[in-house]
């Protein structure tokens, strides 16, 4: 009957309220034991300290002052001493507001993250910069090869190159002149492979890459473009 149904409901409500009150008093803690311990414990974020200044000086070609300046800037931006991928993507995207720089930033991140632990430490940062700014042409080319070789197997395949090329073209955004065609990256990759792939086996090895680049005047001339960045 309806009355008994209502009474049942009323009883149910009373029981629920009772349980709520008990929970408040901490007497009853059903089914939440595992989570509570974790919620109370908050680990502080991991902090990283770089190696000593002298060690870095030996590893890189920067002077002490330059290292100090670099570290100050780095630490200011990343107080924990580590740059994770998302932060890196964010920072890099700010330089290319028109397009989407996240893919390329991802590749860059991997290139800088030498030990592949998912975060760039100051050492990685500064070693990479040293190569790019103060390294020999050979070293720079090797770095570039490393960038293109996504899976780090020593060969640049067409797919890898296409991915890289697409990400670079992505950074341009939509509003370009002339209008960006769909197959522009592919064309570019074809041209690249034509130039680089000597034995036409569909992959570019490091030797082929180095050889071709060293023969190319444009590339050689522009190698020292970015030397005075710091």
């Amino acid at each position: 009957m309806g009355i008994q149904g209502m009474e049942l409901c009323a009883m149910a409500v009373v029981v629920l309220l009772f349980i709520a009150v008990l929970k408040q008093f901490g007497i009853l803690e059903p089914m939440s034991m595992e989570d509570s311990s974790d919620s109370e414990l908050e680990l502080s974020t991991v902090r990283h300290q770089p190696e000593g200044l002298d060690q870095l000086q030996t590893q890189t070609k920067f002077t002490k002052k330059e290292l100090q300046s670099l570290y100050r800037g780095f630490k200011n931006e990343c107080p924990t001493g580590l740059v994770d991928e998302d932060t890196f993507k964010l920072i890099y995207s700010q330089f290319f507001p028109q397009g989407d720089a996240t893919t390329y930033a991802h590749f860059l991140f991997n290139a800088f993250d030498a030990d592949g632990n998912g975060a760039i430490r100051f050492e990685d940062f500064v070693v990479g910069l040293s190569i790019l700014l103060r390294g020999t042409v050979h070293e720079k080319l090797k770095w570039a090869f490393n960038l293109y070789d996504i899976n780090k197997d020593g060969y640049i395949t067409k797919e890898e190159m296409l991915a890289i090329m697409k990400s670079i073209y992505d950074m341009m955004g939509h509003h370009t002149y002339p209008i960006l065609r769909e197959d522009a990256p592919l064309e570019h990759v074809e041209r690249f492979f034509q130039k680089m792939d000597r034995n036409q086996d569909g992959v570019v090895t490091i030797e082929e890459f180095l050889e071709t680049c060293q023969k190319d005047e444009n590339i050689m001339n522009s190698m020292q473009l970015f030397e005075n960045v710091i």
């Binding site: 009957m1 309806g2 009355i3 209502m6 009474e7 409901c9 009323a10 409500v13 009373v14 002052k65 330059e66 100090q68 300046s69 100050r72 800037g73 780095f74 200011n76 931006e77 920072i91 890099y92 700010q94 330089f95 860059l108 290139a111 940062f125 990479g128 910069l129 790019l132 700014l133 720079k140 080319l141 770095w143 570039a144 960038l147 293109y148 890289i164 090329m165 670079i168 570019h188 041209r191 690249f192 890459f209 680049c213 444009n218 590339i219 001339n221 522009s222 190698m223 473009l225 970015f226 005075n228 960045v229 710091i230």
Partner: protein
């Protein structure tokens, strides 16, 4: 761009090496960078407190003062630091912005001071960080509200001075809006207030049962039925007064449409309309029911009090501004009422002889319970009903209590704002008076300087020592500036008193030139008056309040300022005339009497005499007020042979 971008730019550029092998065209050459000296520590000295920071830190924001070359203006080569004469406490926040990229708002500083500092250092207020943004905005809005009220008050012009030439309508409206402006308005204000009270009391008393004289207990009439004529007369009188007031307001209103739509006028209409409707409604039974209902509306007369009470207005304004909270309260209450009424109805359905006959009937129970009134006319009898009933009353307290603090805080804020507005208005008046005083002091000093400076060859040198005041370098330069202005325009400064007298007064000097009233521009024949600047028609006045001049010597006193200038036929022509016997008074310092008369220049660009300011005795020595005023026209052109300027000087 964000803060960190500048730091990472070198990195991004370095990473561009990765594009080199892919480039199909030669890359452009890098921009030439001037020999970077490497990072160095800059010292910024703000009012003695030294802040040191890396140059790179400041360079992060190149569009601010510290980040751009603008700071070189503040560079002190001797000490090798940048010196700013500003508040060092505020600078701390500015510098932290460079360091951390977040601009914080100091809690204990005035928000306007903070704004000014930001403006100085070239920081946009939108840079305030999220943590402090809300508070910053709130405080700024509060400030803006206060200042807006100030301006509004000035614009409504509630000062005692009426603009000249206001029509009857304007005066009437002003009297209505500000009863304190005139006595009649005040009287009217109180009379209407009295009649509102009388009307409301009459309405109330009308319904009290009066013992009829025949002492029949069975029939108890209300007073209204016992003395219908008396109450009718009172009602008529009140309505007449209200009608008159309403019509007068309607007549005086500057914008009748807006007035008609305003709340107060609606209340007025609602208050008086029932009476007129009642007059025209025939007294038959069908309609008289409605007629009785109309009487209810008479109670709205009590709202007319809101013109008389500021608190009521504030309350009304608060309710209006809390409309959203009230709406939320109403909505949540309605939801809860419906839910609980339904539950209670079904819980009590089975009981015989239950009061919960329908869900709407249960509404009453729910409302009474939720507001914790608990009349007890409807009570649940089943257990389920009681359980739900208790839950209902517990939740009722919560639902009602939630929006109330918001409304209260709103009311308190508005109320305090009102208090502040009144205080500020009073303070503004004081400030204005002080400003006027200061201005008059300056001008008096200048006029005195003129006296003293212009009277090099004045006869009485003995009195001068007492009257001369030491002037600071600033004053000297200021006076020189004013003097230059005078010479440029061939007019002189006098005081307001003189000018106003000159406006109304006919000239004094009979034997002097024809002196005519200022307002008239006669082309008097044979007017030998020479004037310096016929083109100078502008009337320049620097009005002085009757400030330091001692008004004790009420009578007119003429002062000769021309003695020294008489010899020059230059534009600045003044003549000293002997004092008119009846117009002279002795001065303490300088016992000369001067006569001044007003001359109007007959040249086509009719000159109007300009006002000049009297210089009240400034500094030491001169005990009484020595006011000299020169009211004159001077015109260029013909050499001033007889610059017959008659000056009226007054204290």
């Amino acid at each position: 761009m964000a803060a960190g971008v500048a730091t990472w730019l070198p990195f991004a550029r370095a990473a561009a090496v990765g594009w080199l092998p892919l480039a199909q065209q030669p890359l452009p050459p890098a921009p030439g960078v001037k020999a970077s000296r490497g990072d160095e520590v800059l010292v910024v000295n703000v009012s003695g407190r030294r802040f040191e920071t890396w140059k790179n830190t400041l360079d992060r924001y190149p569009d601010t003062l510290l980040g751009s070359s603008e700071k070189e203006f503040f560079y002190d080569a001797d000490s090798g630091e940048y010196f700013f004469d500003r508040d060092p406490d505020m600078f701390r926040h500015v510098l932290n912005f460079y360091r951390t990229g977040r601009l914080h708002c100091p809690r204990q500083e005035c928000i306007q001071a903070f704004d000014e500092e930001l403006a100085f250092y070239g920081l946009v207020p939108e840079l305030v960080g999220d943590c402090c943004l809300e508070e910053y905005r709130d405080r700024k809005k509060e400030n803006a509200e206060r200042l807006a009220e100030d301006e509004e008050a000035e614009q409504t012009g509630d000062g005692p001075t009426l603009p000249g030439g206001s029509s009857l309508r304007q005066r009437l409206w002003r009297a209505f809006e500000n009863p304190h402006t005139s006595t009649a308005a005040l009287v009217f204000y109180y009379v209407t207030g009295f009649f509102i009270a009388v009307s409301v009391i009459a309405n109330v008393v009308e319904t009290i049962p009066c013992r009829s004289s025949s002492r029949r207990l069975s029939r108890e009439q209300s007073c209204g039925d016992r003395f219908p004529t008396a109450f009718f007369c009172m009602d008529t009188a009140c309505v007449l007064i209200f009608t008159g007031e309403y019509l007068l307001r309607l007549f005086a209103a500057p914008s009748r449409c807006r007035f008609l739509r305003s709340v107060m006028s609606l209340i007025d209409v609602v208050a008086i309309l029932p009476y007129y409707i009642g007059l025209f409604v025939p007294k038959n039974d069908d309609v008289s029911g409605a007629f009785v209902t109309l009487r209810v509306f008479r109670v709205f007369r009590i709202f007319k009090f809101s013109r008389h009470s500021q608190g009521l207005r504030i309350l009304g304004y608060t309710l209006k501004s809390c409309a959203s909270e009230l709406g939320f309260l109403l909505f949540s209450l309605t939801m809860a009422i419906i839910i609980f009424a339904t539950v209670m109805f079904y819980a009590e359905k089975g009981t015989s002889k239950t009061n919960f006959t329908s869900i709407p009937a249960a509404f009453w129970y729910t409302i009474v319970t939720m507001t914790t009134l608990g009349y007890g006319d409807m009570v649940p009898s089943t257990i389920a009903g009681k359980i739900f009933g208790s839950i209902c009353s517990l939740s009722g307290v919560l639902v009602i209590a939630l929006p109330v603090p918001v409304i209260v805080s709103n009311f308190s804020r508005i109320y305090h704002q009102n208090q502040r507005a009144d205080k500020r208005r009073a303070q503004q008046k004081v400030r204005l008076a002080r400003i006027r005083l200061a201005k008059s002091g300056t001008t008096n000093a200048f006029l005195q300087y003129k006296q003293n400076g212009g009277l090099e060859d004045s006869s009485s040198g003995e009195g001068q020592a007492l009257c001369v005041r030491n002037r600071s370098a600033f004053e000297q330069q200021h006076h020189h500036l004013l003097h230059c202005l005078e010479k440029t325009t061939c007019h002189e400064f006098t005081d307001e008193l003189t000018f106003s007298e000159a406006l109304g007064a006919v000239s004094l000097g009979g034997r002097t030139s024809r002196s005519t009233s200022v307002s008239s521009q006669p082309l008097g024949p044979g007017n030998l008056l020479s004037s310096c600047c016929p083109r100078r028609t502008k009337r320049r006045a620097i009005r002085l309040a009757n400030s330091t001049a001692s008004v004790s010597r009420g009578s007119m006193q003429e002062l000769d300022m021309l003695a020294g200038l008489r010899r020059s036929p230059a534009p600045q022509s003044r003549s000293s005339l002997n004092a008119k016997p009846h117009d002279s008074l002795d001065l303490n310092c300088d016992s000369r009497d001067f006569v001044a008369a007003i001359i109007s220049i007959p040249t086509p660009p009719a000159n109007t005499p300009d006002e000049s300011q009297p210089s009240s005795p400034g500094g030491g020595g001169s005990s009484g007020g020595r006011a000299s005023s020169a009211l004159r026209n001077s015109s260029l052109g013909t050499p001033c042979l007889l610059p017959e300027t008659v000056k009226i000087s007054s204290l």
